[in-house]
Symmetry: C2
Subunit: 125 residues, 2 copies
DNA sequence: CGGCATCCTAGTTGATACTG
DNA sequence: CAGTATCAACTAGGATGCCG
């Protein structure tokens, strides 16, 4: 079958692709992806990797991503319990785009910080 | 001069680069960038291009981006007033990363939508 | 035309404590 | 260990109306 995916346009109000894009950009999603890029990780591992995340919010984020088919959650019936999260095939395809954003952010952070200082100085000094 | 930019790590709580990344991912920022990619645009033009944005939020977004040095605001002293927004050089460098995200979102929207349906059906039908 | 001021709501985030 | 429950902000976002 052909793609016909170009009905989607993020500029249009209510277009699903816009919601998708927003999910990618939310506060914790990119960080979860980056934490999972090298393979499966346990809950507590993720919590440690992602500075400042609380268990509740981490759970929420993971659930959303699981729902969207971007990662899998595997429960190992052991004592103590073990749960692993792993990117799906679809999830792996986001890694590239996200890395680009991450790189840009890290590379230009100091420039932007300075632009802010300049702006603030000009406008209320 | 050398880069020394690698002090920044989005995984670290409080790292500025994380804030930057979040700004890129907020609700309207990417859409503003995409609306400005082909050159300067007026306020009302942007408002029309970006489905669902209110004037207040558009203004807020534009101000933030101006403060971050990503776009310039030019006032033409005419009657009626004309104000144009244009990406700065720095602003143009985000366009690439953002287009990648946009493309991914539009290309995979239907897959994700379906994953959601499947998930919801499995879990509460 | 291009905003700003005001008020308001509704969803998100967070701190803390507790459980299977 | 891997969450859930509860409660308390917080604040982004929206509706409306006025001004230079």
């Amino acid at each position: 079958m052909d793609t016909e995916a170009q009905d989607f346009d993020v500029m249009t109000l209510g277009c699903p692709s816009r919601v998708i894009m927003q999910r990618l950009g939310d506060k914790w999603t990119p960080l979860v992806f980056l934490a999972l890029k090298d393979g499966p990780r346990r809950f507590s591992h993720l919590r440690n990797d992602i500075g400042g995340v609380t268990p509740k919010v981490l759970t929420q984020t993971l659930r959303s991503l699981e729902r969207d088919g971007l990662l899998n959650r595997t429960i190992y019936p052991e004592v103590p319990p073990r749960v692993e999260y792993e990117l799906t095939e679809l999830g792996h395809t986001v890694l590239g785009p996200l890395e680009v954003i991450r790189a840009w952010s890290q590379d230009h952070a100091s420039l932007i910080l300075q632009a802010r200082d300049d702006y603030d100085e000009r406008n209320d000094a």
